[in-house]
């Protein structure tokens, strides 16, 4: 079994061929998976939106607002909810990104944690904690204007996740940001046409 020798020609040729083949197959693979990847991403966002909104038949993304995703959902032409993505940098280890759904009057419908790097078992509990109707944990159905949505340690009316006050603060901070965004932009009304959920979902 004669091995190919390490001459310049051989070396270059080998690597060229290998990289070439690799490139070709990767390129095609990329083309192939491009669609599904996008779809998966979109599906995830949609799932989040659906989660934090009541039933709706049309969804529209407000592209006028910079730096965030802002969706209006309506049912039968009537605005039923607003979903807003918000990020707080105050997490225990990095940013916390959530999506909060508001009723048109500002009451919190539901939320979904999108991205975070909090400690498993501690900060990660926020995914359910603030939805659980136990003690003063839940923020669902609360209104940031009338309810003081900070942790009880800081004088608010929400129980922090045990042993994860920092994450809880950050989470509530993100809720606050979401609400402010809502406040600043809810007047941008009216919304219009029957854009379908599929179309409005992404850029």
């Amino acid at each position: 079994m004669a091995k190919t020798e390490s001459t310049l020609k051989n070396m270059v040729l080998t690597l060229l061929v290998i990289t070439g083949v690799a490139g070709t197959s990767l390129g095609f693979m990329f083309e192939l998976t491009k669609g599904p990847i996008e779809a998966a991403k979109k599906a995830k966002q949609e799932a989040a939106i659906k989660m934090v909104m009541p039933e709706f038949d049309s969804l529209e993304k407000d592209t006028t607002i910079a730096n965030t995703n802002f969706f209006r959902a309506s049912s039968n032409g009537e605005l039923v909810g607003i979903a807003i993505e918000a990020v707080s940098p105050k997490g225990f280890s990095g940013n916390i990104k959530i999506m909060v759904g508001f009723k048109p009057d500002g009451t919190i419908i539901n939320y979904q944690v999108l991205e975070h790097k909090e400690t498993p078992g501690l900060g990660t509990k926020m995914a359910d904690w603030f939805k659980t109707d136990k003690g003063k944990q839940s923020i669902l159905g609360k209104h940031p204007e009338t309810n003081k949505l900070t942790v009880s340690k800081d004088g608010g009316e929400v129980d922090a996740i045990t042993a994860a006050t920092i994450s809880s603060r950050a989470f509530l901070d993100a809720v606050r940001i979401a609400y402010e965004t809502y406040n600043d932009n809810k007047s941008n009304e009216p919304v219009a046409a029957n854009t379908s959920a599929e179309e409005g979902g992404t850029e």
Binding site: F92, L122, K153, D154, T162, A163, A164, T165, I166
Partner: protein
């Protein structure tokens, strides 16, 4: 004629023994135990007993069934580990958690390395830190001193001065305002505050220190450097901004500084061998403690500081040697 015994010199021994040292430390801890019973009552008793008994049991069981070596539980080191573990836990900790802590301390922290003398990290602190991270909720609920002396699990809970300080500062309050929310310095000195079983009463711990120094169980190097470093470091921070950083007295008298500096950093097995090494070790503990307390997520950093420095002990021992005889003159190496 008698059969003569032959052995190399020396033919006499000081009579010092492992047991004497270990029980010496236990005796030195008695004032702190008394203080703990005084402040926390039943809970302190239960926690201490549970920890000591389970540590001794695990040591015995592991030696007997896993390592199949002769059991050496009578030397007192396992009991001491149990006692110190108990002193590092809130007095309303459920017993099953204490048992896990003891298993970790003895099983992972000590016996995995081959038992007494071989471990790299302080077993009691391994146990405590393991619990702290595993059960952050239970490990940070502190019974209030002097209240519900007969209650165990359902004692009223309060905060430790350190967590009050940490929380308060995080919320932008000032040190002077917060100092009013915690007991006075004298009360801190006598131990009237929330905290782990054995750490609260500085005065009792200092009595223990004096006892151990007199009996020559330990030397001054580690306790003094740890306490000194913390005092100096927090003193400097306090001078820089008295409203953002609490003063040295506050830091020395709260939390586990005294317990750690006197009883845990001094653990023979996990501290350096040379005096110079001990000084470096002590300074390291002091600095890390303050860094964690002031800048980190945890209100308290002594335990972490000690086990972090435990990790550096082999390096310290390798590079920092005791002063050698004739070294001064040996500048020109032959």
């Amino acid at each position: 004629m008698n059969t003569l015994t032959i052995s190399p010199s020396p033919h006499v021994h000081s009579g010092d023994s492992v047991k004497k040292n270990m029980y010496g430390v236990v005796i030195a801890l008695l004032p702190a135990l008394a203080a703990s019973l005084y402040y926390f009552g039943l809970g302190a008793l239960i926690v201490t007993l549970a920890a000591v008994l389970s540590c001794v049991f695990f040591e015995w069981a592991i030696q007997k069934f896993l390592l199949k070596t002769e059991a050496s539980i009578l030397d007192g080191s396992a009991a001491l580990t149990g006692l110190l573990l108990a002193f590092n836990m809130p007095t309303n900790l459920p017993i099953w958690i204490i048992i896990i802590g003891s298993l970790v301390a003895i099983g992972i922290g000590k016996m995995s390395f081959g038992g007494l003398g071989n471990n790299i990290f302080n077993p009691a602190l391994v146990g405590r830190v393991f619990l702290l991270i595993s059960f952050p909720v239970q490990m940070t609920l502190w019974p209030e001193p002097g209240k519900n002396m007969t209650a165990y699990l359902d004692a009223t809970t309060g905060a430790t001065p350190l967590s009050v300080m940490k929380e308060g500062l995080a919320n932008g309050e000032t040190v002077s305002a917060l100092m009013d929310k915690i007991p006075s310095i004298t009360e801190l000195f006598y131990g009237n505050m929330g905290g782990s079983a054995g750490e609260v009463a500085a005065v009792a711990l200092i009595i223990g220190l004096i006892y151990m120094l007199i009996r020559k169980i330990i030397t001054w190097h580690i306790p003094v450097t740890v306490i000194g470093t913390i005092a100096v470091f927090t003193g400097i921070l306090h001078l820089v901004n008295p409203e953002l950083y609490a003063g040295p007295l506050f830091h020395l008298l709260t939390g586990g500084v005294m317990l750690g500096a006197i009883f845990m950093a001094t653990d023979y097995v996990t501290s350096p061998m040379s005096n110079k090494g001990m000084v470096i070790f002590g300074i390291g503990i002091g600095i890390i403690t303050v860094v964690i307390r002031v800048f980190g997520a945890y209100p308290e950093g002594v335990s972490f500081a000690i086990i972090i420095m435990n990790g550096f002990v082999p390096l310290i021992d390798k590079y920092i040697k005791p002063k050698r005889f004739g070294e001064v003159a040996k500048t020109t190496k032959a």
